[in-house]
């Protein structure tokens, strides 16, 4: 197997919903150029978009690091924010701590984490209340 690797990063600003979606659109372009299968691209983009919106909705700022090799993509989203007290509960469908303002914009329906879960081959969430959250999404290109 070849050891070709790629790495890139994006910065995310809390509260800036109108700009959300840029990283997923860039990752999509990259995966298309790499000839990754369409369904994998779709799943990855959905999971990433949900995770990005979570930072925008809940955190102050964050960094999205993308690592690609010939077998998989790993996306690590590290944010500075309030953190998640009960991750298990946060994963439940419909559970949301989003403010009414965020819900008004069409976000915060409590589908984010479970949606990420269904669209990622591996999802890991670690969080420290008062400091921030790290979300890691991993998808394999070949099953």
């Amino acid at each position: 197997m070849s050891s070709e690797k790629m790495h890139f990063e994006y910065r995310v600003e809390g509260g800036n919903f109108s700009e959300a979606g840029y990283p997923s659109s860039q990752v999509k372009k990259t995966l298309k150029q790499l000839n990754v299968e369409g369904n994998v691209i779709k799943r990855t983009v959905v999971a990433l978009y949900e995770a990005e919106v979570n930072i925008v909705a809940h955190a102050y700022r964050g960094v999205i690091a993308v690592d690609i090799d010939t077998e998989k993509i790993i996306i690590t989203l590290t944010d500075e924010g309030p953190g998640i007290a009960d991750i298990k509960k946060a994963m439940e469908i419909g559970y949301s701590t989003a403010t009414p303002e965020v819900r008004e914009m069409g976000f915060g329906a409590g589908m984010g984490l479970s949606n990420m879960n269904t669209n990622a081959d591996k999802l890991s969430i670690t969080s420290e209340v008062g400091t921030g959250t790290i979300v890691e999404i991993m998808n394999y290109f070949h099953k």
């Binding site: 070709e4 298309k32 150029q33 000839n35 779709k42």
Partner: protein, 465 residues
């Protein structure tokens, strides 16, 4: 510059080298970056072209032409059917009646003249069924515009599965007509069905259809060609003959090929209509990112004002739309209550049509991928990134590629040299890495000897200086 695999993609748009002046207008407008300039002539990359016709609109010297079948081909058949889209009736001045148009088409040699949109009511029902039964694939995309179907295949491969796999109204009407005529005892090989097309993409849809083996249509006639022929006949006519016009079409059918023609009649959920190819691309980017939610049906048309804006329509597109809308209102007023005017002549559950209108799968054929091998693709991507960083991002097109990014990709795919960039040349010249002769040779290889000929315009240019 054509690649080996390009031959498999048929195109109706042809570039006439003898007329092309190498101005690069077409290269700069092409939404899929399918055109380069080399040796002073526009070159088409056939695998990237979707036949939208934007290049045809901007060519200042008419060097881009739309192929068409020899009109005499109609005489190979005893029964000659002209399938005319409703936008055709909107090309003529108000003073010309549909009866006059109809009789002129007959006079040209057709035995039957039928409007394409007769199949619309039948198809609308099938679309609604299809949307109901395929909720998982939202948003479903109309297969109506062949340029959009091809755009999705090459540029949005992940959305190829969202295209509704049913034939277009023209195919439904053609199938129905052929069946009706053979039922009357006419042998199928004696029937020639000719479609009068408003655009290049529809020609390609007939000549090399996506999702079916062979089209049910025997030949194509360009709308502007037929318009000229008919106008001549109308001019020479001394007195107006009293003839009946086209058979009755419903309001919906008349406006089907206009923007919102389809989207307004999908009963399931939420529908959106988008016209003009750059608008379509912008929207599909968002759909592909899953940023757009809750849309059930997308009507997407490559031309501004949809088929009224087709490149082969001689009339002004806004006037055409207005005329069709007026005709639709009139149609609603006159016979709105008879059952036939509501459903058309085609039975809603015609078993023959039901069996024959599904399309095979629309397969993606990505132009985006850099290599089939992923690690090769990664190496190329890194190289593109490095090359693009040294380019000026002016997108001037002097290198013969439409953008700096496109040049980087062409270099990596061994189809261009980074030295084609005039900024790179100037930097190399300053560092004594390139002499003037070499840079002029490169420029000549892109733009031809003529444009850079030492003696041409020498005195005139000196004078200005």
């Amino acid at each position: 510059m054509e690649r080996k695999t390009d031959n498999q993609f048929h195109h109706a748009l042809k570039f006439r080298e003898d007329l092309c002046i190498g101005c690069s207008h077409c290269m700069n407008i092409c939404p899929t970056e399918a055109i380069r300039v080399s040796h002073g002539k526009a070159q088409l990359h056939a695998n990237r072209c979707v036949d939208c016709g934007e290049c045809y609109r901007v060519c200042p010297v008419g060097a881009i032409i739309v192929e068409q079948d020899d009109f005499e081909n109609i005489y190979k058949y005893n029964t000659r059917v002209a399938l005319i889209p409703s936008v055709f009736s909107g090309q003529f001045p108000d003073s010309v009646s549909s009866g006059e148009i109809l009789s002129a088409v007959h006079e040209l040699g057709f035995t039957h003249v039928i409007e394409v949109e007769e199949g619309v009511e039948f198809l609308n029902d099938r679309f609604n069924e299809y949307i109901r039964e395929n909720q998982a694939k939202k948003p479903l995309i109309s297969p109506f515009c062949p340029a959009v179907v091809r755009l999705i295949q090459v540029k949005f491969p992940t959305l190829a599965g969202n295209i509704i796999l049913l034939k277009a109204p023209v195919d439904v009407t053609a199938l129905h007509t052929r069946k009706e005529l053979t039922d009357q005892g006419i042998a199928s090989e004696d029937i020639g069905i000719f479609y009068v097309t408003p655009c290049a993409a529809k020609i390609v849809a007939v000549k090399s259809p996506v999702g079916e083996e062979k089209s049910v249509i025997d030949g194509v006639i360009n709308m502007n060609y037929l318009y000229n022929k008919i106008f001549k006949i109308l001019r020479q006519k001394k007195e107006k003959s009293e003839v009946t016009g086209f058979s009755h079409l419903s309001e919906k059918s008349i406006c089907w090929s206009l923007t919102h023609g389809e989207s307004g009649h999908m009963t399931q959920g939420r529908s959106l209509a988008i016209d003009e190819i750059n608008n379509v691309i912008e929207f599909l980017e968002k759909v592909e990112n899953e940023e757009i939610d809750g849309i059930d049906f997308l009507e997407l048309r490559a031309c501004d004002e949809s088929c009224a804006g087709g490149i082969l329509c001689p009339g002004n597109r806004f006037m055409t739309v207005d005329k069709l809308r007026k005709r639709a209102v009139k149609s609603g007023d006159s016979k709105g209550n008879t059952p036939e005017s509501k459903t058309g002549k085609i039975s809603m559950n015609d078993p023959f049509l039901l069996e024959n209108i599904p399309l095979g799968p629309v397969l993606p054929r990505s132009i985006i991928k850099l290599d089939d091998n992923m690690s090769e693709a990664m190496i190329k991507m890194k190289r593109i990134y490095e090359l693009n960083r040294v380019l000026p991002q002016v997108d001037c097109g002097i290198c013969g590629s439409p953008t700096c990014k496109a040049l980087s990709e062409d270099v990596v795919q061994n189809q261009a040299s980074i030295k084609q960039c005039i900024f790179v040349q100037k930097i190399l010249e300053q560092n004594d890495k390139m002499d003037m002769q070499e840079s002029i040779q490169i420029m000549k290889s892109i733009w031809s000897d003529n444009k850079l000929d030492q003696n041409s315009l020498k005195d005139e240019i000196n004078e200005i200086n």
